[in-house]
Point group: C2
């Protein structure tokens, strides 16, 4: 319960919720794309973006010219949500139909990563999205680092929500001759598609051939 606050307390289906860091971290590590919410002139914006996690810090990055990152890095309140959709829950009624998913909601303020920590943060993001990738890359140039904004958000106020299992129907509905169950959605299969300008003889590395998101 170490990530709970009055704002991350769950009012709907609290039994499906958790404020446990290990639960939150496992969901964050299986995903790699988040939705960042921020407010500008009273209007919320929700922007999808890749991320990386290390310990209790979430990193996002983008162009230093990005309006969103500039806004989000001003210390304004943010909400970062990560959702993994595991399946569709087909109940015998519309009312009990649902979706099996795991999500994390993090509240907080982000701040720009200092210049001397930027490269380490970029490595964290790169290796979160494709584990093992960083080492194979052409080293970053200082001008690239300068053109990149990296934000960090501490994972201190967060919640996870998890719905699993079969439909839960009204007792009398189980007698109906209606197909019910779940449509389990597989984690996506990753197929390497080599660049047409690849140098001859470059083997496909293990971090590509063995790529998969690790389901906790």
């Amino acid at each position: 319960m170490d990530l709970e606050s009055s704002r991350t307390k769950l009012d709907r289906y609290p039994s499906r919720g958790s404020h446990d860091f290990a639960t939150v971290a496992a969901i964050l590590d299986e995903g790699f794309f988040c939705h960042v919410g921020f407010v500008k002139n009273g209007q919320p914006f929700v922007i999808p973006i890749g991320y990386g996690r290390k310990d209790r810090v979430l990193y996002i990055h983008g162009s230093a010219a990005s309006r969103m990152l500039t806004e989000a890095g001003k210390g304004i309140p943010l909400c970062v949500t990560v959702t993994l959709v595991d399946g569709l829950v087909l109940a015998r009624s519309a009312f009990h139909s649902s979706v099996n998913y795991r999500s994390v909601v993090i509240l907080g303020t982000a701040e720009p990563v200092a210049a001397d920590e930027k490269v380490a943060a970029l490595k964290t993001i790169t290796d979160h999205i494709v584990p093992g990738r960083w080492e194979s890359l052409r080293p970053v140039k200082q001008e690239e680092v300068d053109q990149t904004t990296v934000l960090k958000l501490d994972i201190v106020e967060a919640s996870a929500k998890v719905r699993t299992g079969p439909p839960v129907d009204d007792e009398e509905d189980y007698a109906l001759p209606i197909w019910a169950g779940t449509l389990d959605l597989s984690a996506p299969v990753a197929t390497p598609n080599p660049d047409k300008r690849l140098q001859p003889g470059v083997a496909t590395p293990a971090h590509v051939t063995r790529y998969r998101r690790i389901k906790s």
Copy 2:
């Protein structure tokens, strides 16, 4: 360009963006889970939830007791974002590494669907998530309709953003012996998992066996 406004104008990579309704609709129809952003006491919240689209209206629904839906239905500014992740873009440098994705951002205010339109809206949502499902279900009860809040959001101010294709590296980096390309992520495969309490002899219907998201 019919969905453009000063607020949905794209400042980053406008060449990847679109304000065309057909482009927006195709992405909305392939997806079924959105992230709804709203503001409460200055704090943004981003909540994942299923949705349905019909014409230029997006519907979301949930328990009438839901704090989120109650807030979101008050006519406050919302942002609804739908993201489909198609692949990882493995460039020869971290700087040019990216993600292939298609996303839609809709801005607007939602309002509760009137009582006499609720059932039609619930059918839209149900059949959006699992096409053909509604007809096979036990009919809805009035008490269930009463316990459900359905919100509608007009799709009038929106943008799509699409990144496709191989990495775009610095010209001199193409000579490096680094594997580059994309890791194309398949649409998830849906496996029917029948409920243990299914009545004997109930066949698995085509809307379950043939379930797939239609890629436009």
